[in-house]
Symmetry: C2
Subunit: 204 residues, 2 copies
């Protein structure tokens, strides 16, 4: 039950741009160029905002970066939420999730890299706010993959001796490494074959 609060429409010019769209465009820039490699003019060009508007909306470069990073993380979590849906077969979900990685590490997508991995390397050691976010995402990813593997194990789908939690850590390290390698060698077939070979060691 919502109280009918008498919200007066403010007079004056209404907000003329979409904040979330601006965050997304800023994310794209940080994604391609990194934090230190991104200058204010890059962000202004991408968001099509004036300096004043950008600072009014986001405070400063660092805050905008955190919002962009949060957005990237939210997208990644949503993807996992979808692929690891408990109603789906865990191995199917895992394969689909890995296929997404192959897609994202191929060709131009691969060269573009990964905002999380790049941020982890560039800032996580020095910037506590960033470090917490990266570590949090890592834990979340680990938990969901481990959960899927547990379900698979219960269904007898894993190879003998495979332990879900350590297998999850292996998979995550592998996937993050894939994003690093893809910066210079983004060949789709090789990536897919490597993923298949890895999976082959873990599923029955």
């Amino acid at each position: 039950m919502r109280h009918e609060s008498p919200v007066h429409s403010p007079r004056g010019r209404p907000r003329g741009f979409d904040i979330e769209a601006a965050v997304e465009r800023a994310m794209d820039v940080f994604w391609s160029r990194g934090y230190h490699g991104t200058a204010l003019p890059d962000l202004l060009r991408a968001t099509k905002l004036s300096r004043g508007s950008l600072y009014a909306a986001f405070g400063d470069k660092h805050s905008l970066f955190l919002r962009a990073l949060d957005r990237y993380i939210a997208d990644a979590l949503a993807r996992m939420e979808f692929e690891f849906d408990p109603r789906k077969d865990p191995i199917d979900g895992l394969k689909a999730y890995l296929a997404g990685y192959v897609e994202r590490t191929s060709g131009g997508n691969g060269r573009r890299g990964c905002l999380l991995v790049a941020t982890a390397m560039e800032l996580a050691g020095q910037d506590a706010e960033v470090g917490r976010r990266v570590a949090g995402y890592f834990k979340a990813m680990e938990g969901r993959v481990a959960n899927a593997l547990s379900r698979a194990k219960a269904a007898g789908q894993l190879a003998d001796g495979v332990e879900p939690s350590s297998a999850a850590r292996i998979l995550i390290c592998f996937l993050w490494g894939l994003r690093v390698v893809a910066k210079t060698a983004p060949t789709r077939n090789t990536s897919q074959a490597t993923v298949d070979a890895l999976l082959d060691r873990f599923i029955r």
Copy 2:
């Protein structure tokens, strides 16, 4: 046969600093702070050189960075040369090599990260000189690990169905991912256990 060229000792003050030591100190700085995150004063402090001397010796920041990166790569290659010595048992060598990674991704070492991985993410996409070096190192690493695995396979030390070249790619992705994860979660025991669990899937 060398012609006895009459090399006159130059008059004047002799070189008073060790260039290789300066490269190493510069490497440490880039390693900790990244390329864009490193400013000239950082390099001057670390190398204990004056601005003039540094520019006389190295040209500019980018050239110095390339020398530091080359040094890092040379060290890494030397480590592989040692561990994958053909006279040693390949599995022993591989285990020792992986143990070195665990060491380098634990605690403070882990937080420090890896100059190659950080550089791959920060510059490999935009800087051709850097990209070539990173890609070259990746190929070298892949080749040597694959070679060790081939020898292991010939000796019947690998699990059934393990193919040396794809297993090598898996291992490399895993190790590079380990360096990413270690930026925020550098716990030695977990790393070692994960490495062991991975190896367990590949060796008999």
